[in-house]
């Protein structure tokens, strides 16, 4: 197991290197000059050139790449051109809203997706199953930003039940913080709940047709025990893979949801950094997201062993 983990960690390095190299050169290929944005609208060409020199953007691209790679390997993601502070600090400052949004959205996805999937799987081809699947298809089809805008219109603008956006840290007030997270979490989590419901349903259908389920029923176990202990636990093995991927997808989806709900997280940071060509931040955030994605996949693999003791990695 440990040898397997070590191998996986070693494999991470080339993956990350390829990701960051592609991102570095792609970003620099896009036209746009952070120095000109930083200098402002009234700046002369001379001012912009001076700003470019101060930022080190007048060096050859390969040289900029070399410097950046060397620093990154030493754990230094560089300084944000626009914010004038270390990229790692800029990401850390915005991590809390993104983690919270991801976590709350995952809770929404699980709370809706798993019961809906179980109900559909236990009562296949009934009106309940069909209703659940129609909702699931809607959930998968509706873009999160559209759902978010409609939630704002109905629950904030018309009913005045929830705030239309913004963020309150849980450290400032737990209840207010949760209150501000409700609409964004539903907006982001609903689509994933639909996906989850479909996966759980198909797993449940498959597992409920297995011999050991028939045996469990034959020996007189209560139906609830059969479903929740024998069937659902086994259905959670493939579902856990989906949960892992869902976390990564939710973090990616946070980019749009944070923009719609004005949440000052990593997603909004990356959007604004792209618009202002803040190269170090874009590179840093993508490196960070890629790392999260890879680590989550690794954790899911490890989780398999805990959920299903039959699985062993050699």
């Amino acid at each position: 197991m440990y040898a397997y983990l070590a191998r996986r960690v070693v494999h991470l390095l080339p993956v990350m290197l390829v990701v960051v190299t592609i991102v570095f050169f792609l970003i620099h290929l896009i036209p746009g000059d952070p120095a000109a944005i930083m200098a402002g609208t009234d700046a002369t060409s001379e001012d912009v050139a001076k700003m470019r020199h101060l930022m080190g953007l007048d060096r050859p691209l390969y040289e900029q790449y070399g410097i950046w790679l060397l620093r990154t390997l030493q754990g230094d993601l560089g300084n944000s051109i626009f914010l004038g502070r270390p990229v790692a600090v800029a990401i850390l400052e915005r991590l809390e809203p993104t983690i919270l949004l991801t976590a709350f959205s995952l809770i929404v996805a699980l709370l809706i997706g798993i019961p809906a999937g179980v109900l559909s799987g236990v009562h296949p081809n009934t009106w309940l199953d069909k209703l659940m699947m129609v909702i699931a298809i809607l959930g998968v089809s509706i873009p999160a930003f559209w759902l978010g805008l409609n939630l704002i219109y109905i629950f904030s603008y018309k009913l005045r039940l929830f705030p239309p956006g913004n963020y309150v840290s849980l450290s400032a007030s737990i209840t207010t913080g949760i209150y501000y997270m409700i609409l964004p979490s539903i907006s982001l989590g609903f689509g994933q709940s639909a996906l989850m419901a479909r996966i759980v349903r198909s797993c449940m259908l498959e597992i409920l047709a297995q011999d050991y389920i028939r045996t469990a029923r034959a020996k007189g176990l209560q139906e609830r025990s059969v479903i929740y202990i024998h069937a659902l636990r086994n259905a959670m093995v493939p579902t856990s893979t989906v949960i892992g991927i869902t976390i990564a997808v939710l973090m990616g989806g946070a980019v749009i949801t944070e923009t719609v709900f004005n949440i000052p997280g990593v997603g909004r940071l990356v959007i604004s950094s792209v618009l202002r060509r803040d190269y170090p931040v874009i590179q840093g955030v993508i490196l960070f997201i890629a790392l999260v994605y890879v680590v989550i996949n690794l954790l899911v693999d490890v989780l398999y062993c805990l959920i299903d003791p039959r699985i062993r990695y050699e």
Binding site: G32, M38, G40, S156, P163, N166, N262, R277
Partner: protein
């Protein structure tokens, strides 16, 4: 007896009610207190206004920092931290006396050494500072409360440069010494009516009332005069999405927002909880010719473009509602003392026949005209679309290149990459500061005659004489089609009705404003 007592009570009640109704608070008397939640259009790239010309930095900075001069209600130059000034007959030596007893947020008194240190840094760092300092021989302290600005050549525009539009903000000397000219300031201390508390990037900039603020004693006048901080705190919250800013003010999540699209005007005007304000003047739309290289080094071809364009359709498409634009030839807005309609006949011609004749005279053979614009500012794109269409109908071969703003800003400094680009022009404190009429700015208005006129307007003392030269500059602008003016446009500002006392100038500010709730 009891009846008489009852009548007495009724009389007391009526009289009290009348007095209460006439009391200061009911009459809209200012009140202290509350936290103002104000929407910023984006995250400030820095909090140091010396460092950038970004408007959002100015909006934040003007609350905790101040300048020697500022602008009154008619955008005239008035003293702020300065008490007054004298200037030598040859306009080469300015002695500026400072107000005594002005405190920084640390409690230290502002003296000439702080002003000299700040101006010397500003002269090396800020765009307009560098402009002025090309002509500055020395800035020195005469005594504790007086500084002297000595120039190489006489200039009348020193006070205009030292206003908030020039970003000549005053820091304590220690703050300037801490960073020099290589990085933005790190310690946020000024003399403004509000003091800096914290900056959480993408979340807020928090300011609070500076209780020891030394206000001027003259009446409030535009950005200047007496400034009173009524709010306990101001939270400036970046909300980049315009629609989100609207919803957040409508639902009471925010109290005030600038930069709202005029499209929302009817809807917002009908909202009983909101006050709508047209920000007039704001900017004017300009098509900037690349006069350094390529087709538009040819004056006749530039004149052909000027002749072809009809501005009403362009402005209608750009802004939509007539309340939010104005067709006006003046380079300086109607709201300023510099307004003139000279050369009106060359503005808004919409004359394709004349344009075709000029195209032939210029020897135009259908070469591609690359017109750069962005959709990030919808009015830039919408105005360029119609202008390009009009030019195409006249016979120009226009390639409208739509890109993000960052790309426009980068490419406009390269004379190989475009023929025209669209941008907006704000109003400088003095016409001598107009960047689009200078040789160093993209588009490169490098004309000796224009340079000479700009130098003369900058180095003449009497307003009447300066105004006459300014008219000549506007004539030169139109006769040589230096660039093409489309029209003035205005923006929309909204706030909750309980926000009172607000003065609607072209940059939003929150002193002398209070909550009535």
């Amino acid at each position: 007896m009891e009846r008489q007592h009852r009548w007495t009570l009724v009389v007391i009640f009526v009289v009290s009610s009348i007095l209460l109704a006439a009391s200061p608070s009911a009459a809209g008397q200012p009140r202290f207190g509350g936290t103002m939640r104000f929407a910023l259009e984006g995250e400030p790239p820095t909090l140091d206004p010396h460092w950038t010309t970004a408007t959002v930095v100015m909006t934040v900075g003007s609350h905790w920092l101040e300048t020697l001069f500022t602008q009154g209600a008619k955008y005239e130059i008035i003293p702020d931290l300065a008490e007054g000034y004298t200037v030598s007959d040859d306009l080469r030596v300015y002695d500026i006396s400072l107000r005594k007893g002005v405190l920084f947020h640390t409690g230290k008194e502002m003296t000439s050494e702080d002003v000299v240190a700040s101006l010397n840094r500003w002269g090396q760092v800020a765009t307009s500072g560098k402009d002025l300092f090309r002509n500055v021989e020395k800035v020195e302290a005469v005594d504790k409360y007086k500084i002297r600005v000595s120039l190489k050549k006489g200039s009348a525009v020193v006070p205009a440069f030292l206003t908030w539009t020039g970003r000549a903000f005053i820091y304590p000397k220690e703050v300037v010494d801490e960073v020099g000219t290589k990085t933005p300031v790190k310690t946020y201390i000024g003399t403004g009516p509000f003091q800096f508390i914290e900056h959480k990037p993408d979340r807020h900039v928090k300011l609070k009332r500076f209780d020891r603020y030394t206000a001027r004693t003259d009446k409030p006048n535009g950005f200047g005069g007496q400034k009173v901080a009524y709010f306990d705190e101001i939270l400036m919250i970046p909300v980049p999405e315009q629609a989100q800013r609207v919803t957040m003010v409508q639902t009471g999540e925010l109290d005030f927002s600038d930069w709202i699209s005029p499209d929302a005007f009817d809807r917002l005007k009908a909202d009983p909880q909101l006050t709508t304000l047209v920000v007039k003047p704001k900017e004017w739309i300009i098509g900037v010719f690349n006069k350094k290289k390529g087709l538009f080094t040819n004056k006749t071809l530039r004149q052909a473009v000027q002749a072809a364009l009809a501005m009403k359709p362009i402005m209608t498409n750009a802004v939509g509602r007539p309340e939010f634009y104005r067709l006006d030839p003046s380079i300086m807005f109607q709201e300023s003392v510099w307004w003139t309609d000279t050369s009106r006949e060359l503005y808004d011609q919409g004359n394709p026949e004349k344009a075709k004749r000029l195209m032939r005279e210029a020897g135009y053979k259908g070469e591609t005209i690359r017109w750069m614009c962005t959709k990030e500012y919808e009015w830039m794109y919408q105005s360029a679309v119609i202008a390009a269409q009009q030019l195409k109908e006249t016979g120009f071969n226009v390639d409208l290149q739509v890109m993000d703003w960052a790309s426009v800003v980068q490419r406009r400094t390269n004379p190989d990459q475009y023929e025209i680009f669209t941008t907006g022009m704000g109003m400088p404190a003095d016409p001598a500061q107009f960047v689009s009429l200078s040789c160093g700015w993209p588009g490169w208005a490098c004309f000796p005659e224009l340079d000479d006129l700009m130098l003369r307007v900058a180095s003449t003392a009497k307003f009447e004489e300066r105004y006459r030269i300014w008219k000549q500059i506007q004539t030169y602008f139109y006769e040589n089609a230096v660039n093409v003016k489309m029209g003035d446009f205005f923006t929309l500002r909204i706030h909750r009705n309980y926000v009172k006392g607000y003065t609607n100038m072209n940059l939003a500010f929150l002193w002398n404003t209070w909550f009535e709730k």
